[in-house]
């Protein structure tokens, strides 16, 4: 049977980890490849790099980091941030990414997702949906890190993205991100129940119970977290143990 996935996320800026893990005995805490290796050894189910590079001039740095990570890690790698053209996708895949996550470009041009899926296959196209709860049960897409409202209903958008060939949806609650109060379960569940593709819950994890909630209550099949893995607060093994204890299938 298919297992629920635990996915650590590293924020990468100009080729360096800016929000990642301060592992003990790590000589260089900003080296994404070193952090990726540790997660690989710890049995993380996948790894996500979010490129938050301010300038698109440094794109080649990202390709280099992806290539070095792919050389050192034998688990799936998703790269997101700044993916706008099919050429960006091809370069990331050739560098060693397994999936790419598309955010703003999907909002601006939903047909881009269809074009990408037809070219590279549904399975490597992840659409990243950043949404806020604007009224109870009402979820709106925001872009630019949650600053710009779009007026687009998140659930309708999610359906459209799945129809256009997105193989997976990364659903981030912008009102929870960084709060450590837990995923927005209503948002996660509204989208997971509306589409037939896998949903990754993201944004707001503060403890292991939140991971359980994302799957059990939010109906996600994968949980992404960054900060709980910071400073060794929790390990991948502890995250999986918590899911297993709640009766959820995990790979250990």
């Amino acid at each position: 049977m298919l297992k629920m996935r635990v996915i650590p996320c590293l924020d990468v800026k100009d080729g360096r980890v800016v929000k990642g893990v301060n592992f003990v005995n790590l000589v260089d805490a900003g080296d994404p490849v070193a952090q990726a290796k540790i997660y690989d050894a710890a049995g993380a189910d996948e790894l996500t790099f979010l490129d938050i590079t301010a300038s698109s001039d440094n794109r080649d740095t990202l390709y280099d980091v992806v290539a070095k990570t792919a050389e050192a890690c034998f688990m799936p790698l998703t790269v997101g941030g700044g993916v706008r053209k099919t050429e960006d996708i091809r370069k990331l895949l050739l560098a060693g990414a397994d999936k790419v996550s598309i955010n703003t470009a999907a909002v601006n041009n939903p047909d881009f997702v269809r074009e990408a899926a037809e070219k590279f296959g549904d399975q490597c196209i992840v659409v990243s949906i950043d949404a806020k709860e604007t009224a109870p049960g009402r979820f709106e897409i925001f872009t630019h890190g949650g600053r710009n409202p779009t007026g687009i209903d998140a659930v309708a958008f999610a359906r459209r993205m799945a129809e256009n060939g997105a193989g997976e949806l990364l659903v981030t609650s912008m009102d929870r991100d960084g709060t450590r109060q837990g995923y927005n379960i209503a948002l996660t569940r509204a989208i997971a129940d509306a589409v037939n593709v896998p949903v990754i819950a993201s944004g707001g994890v503060g403890n292991l119970e939140h991971l359980v909630e994302g799957i059990r209550d939010g109906h996600a099949t994968a949980v992404l977290a960054a900060s709980i893995f910071h400073f060794g607060q929790h390990s991948i093994a502890e995250a999986k143990a918590a899911l297993a204890e709640a009766g959820l299938p995990v790979r250990r």
Binding site: M1, L2, K3, G43, F74, G96, A97, K119, G121, Q123
Partner: protein
Amino acid sequence: MTTVVIDYGAGNLRSVAKALGTVAAESRAGEVIVSDDPTVIRRANRIVLPGVGAFADCKKGLESRPGVIDALAQSVLEAGRPFLGICVGMQLMATEGVEYGTHPGLDWIKGKVVKLTPDDPGLKIPQMGWNDLKLRSAHPVFAGLESGDHGYFVHSYHFITDRPEDVLAAVDYGGEITAVIGRDNLIGVQFHPEKSQKVGLKLLANFLAWKP
């Protein structure tokens, strides 16, 4: 000994080549090269066809490389060299695939590649993640592996073989689906060994040591 990873413009070549290179170095199994040169393919001792992408796009990519399909047929079908297809590379071994229209495959293992249709409507498409293998054969590429070991799957289409004995391992995803196929010198894996940590690297090492 040389293992060639076929470069046809699509696919996660680098990941596959790096994983093979890592296990080849550990087991002194020679060099791993990435190439679309028919001469290199004909000379190689082992051939790996990776795959990420859509069936038709990958097939077109193979066809657009002059002489590659002929070189593959000579090495694999005539000379009987060990061949490993991965994900779409495995699916291309089929008679035909129906992703974005019906397209002929290499027809090395009789069967069709069709959309996943799990019994349980709650199961998502694609199947994405780690699933436990049910081995149906004591094939040499499974040495040191056992049922219950996990492979990483990412696919919306699956291989239905005409002959049940061509299925060497299966996984459960709303019914049994094909995880590994093979006959003679041919092996195809639906999951990604290059992304399946220890289990995947073991399978790749076994492939490099396999003498069909």
